[in-house]
Assembly symmetry: C2
Homo-oligomer: 219 residues x 2
């Protein structure tokens, strides 16, 4: 066995171990998700994802300038008109008892990729019209998979949800498949959302953003 | 821990063991597929599937009479006109070096369910326009999942394909997702195909059958 094959085997073994771990964890167990992401996201596929994203001007500009949301004041956003991105986002965060995440040190394009995706995850929830139920998370995960195109993590998380449902919640499996199919088609049809400066769009109507970025509501 | 919980845990453990086994096996390893099907198909979900199918007259009649294809003469079918079901089916079988399977003893509705699905699997390939590539098999598996609606096995096989692709063949993952979404939508739109007496339809054009059973070509 060559060294390369051996490393590859070790990687696969670890990925499967982490997969079983996340399969057994309750939905939304961030530690298990984080461990799994770290296990499955190899540099090669992350590089592919970054390169694909860099082909789009919005994403390229974001990478070059390492754009982040900066300070987000949920209370202030909640005073904006109903239907605006700011109001809808703050409402989503409050309803789900969520807080904007803290910015880590961004060392390279891969850390930026992961941070930007994590930081804007709940904005994507809002603009894709996905709630935080298992079906909503799956629809969004599938949308993300279509947008990133080479994210091992996104595809594997979908596989995890599907298997978990088949074994533990069979009656939800058809709904999960609907969400998976819908998110995939929506994600392919929409413009690439990576790198959008959402913090300049709080005042804009969500419906207008959906029209602008071709985020079609399919469910 | 109650006896029920303990049995449930044992079942889950075995399902996951078999899942890892099939994940590591090459595509189309029938022994691994068979082991996995036996592990994951519990009586309760099979019962649900049978009950759902019995709501449709075609399936009900097939269950009541335990209809099978009977002897299939591929050579004779190959003499039928191009575009007929018989020609297309025999061509598919020959091209893929496949032979009709032998009929086992059919003891009950569950054995009939599994045998009929296995026996007509390649006819479903033909009428859904799915080839035997990984993408084609996934499209058909997703179509079957939509038609059976409560088949743990179908959903879990899709999860297996998705995870296997994410880990081993990342560049194929988008195609797999396309197939999965397409098969699901097609399977929901089509009339229930379970129990159709295909052996009375060898002379009929495939296109006519697709129209009759609302099998829309979406790829």
């Amino acid at each position: 066995m060559s060294i390369h094959t051996s490393i590859n085997q070790q990687w696969k073994t670890q990925v499967l171990e982490r997969f079983l771990e996340i399969l057994k964890a309750p939905y939304g167990d961030f530690q298990a998700i984080w461990n799994f992401a770290n296990a499955i996201n190899d540099v090669e596929s992350l590089k592919q994802t970054v390169e694909l994203l860099l082909q789009h001007p919005t994403a390229k500009y974001a990478f070059q300038n390492r754009l982040v949301l900066e300070s987000v004041d949920l209370e202030q956003l909640h005073t904006l008109g109903q239907g605006t991105l700011g109001y809808a986002y703050s409402n989503h965060m409050k309803t789900n008892n969520l807080k904007p995440i803290k910015q880590p040190v961004i060392e390279n394009d891969y850390t930026y990729l992961m941070f930007h995706l994590t930081e804007t995850h709940d904005i994507w929830h809002v603009v894709t019209g996905s709630d935080t139920s298992m079906a909503g998370e799956t629809k969004l995960q599938s949308f993300v998979a279509a947008q990133l195109f080479t994210s091992r993590f996104s595809f594997a998380m979908l596989a995890k949800n599907l298997l978990k449902t088949a074994v533990e919640d069979l009656e939800l499996a058809p709904l999960l498949m609907d969400s998976l199919a819908t998110g995939w088609v929506m994600g392919k049809q929409a413009q690439p959302l990576f790198g959008i400066q959402w913090n300049k769009l709080w005042d804009t109507q969500v419906a207008e953003l959906q029209l602008q970025w071709n985020i079609l509501s399919l469910n």
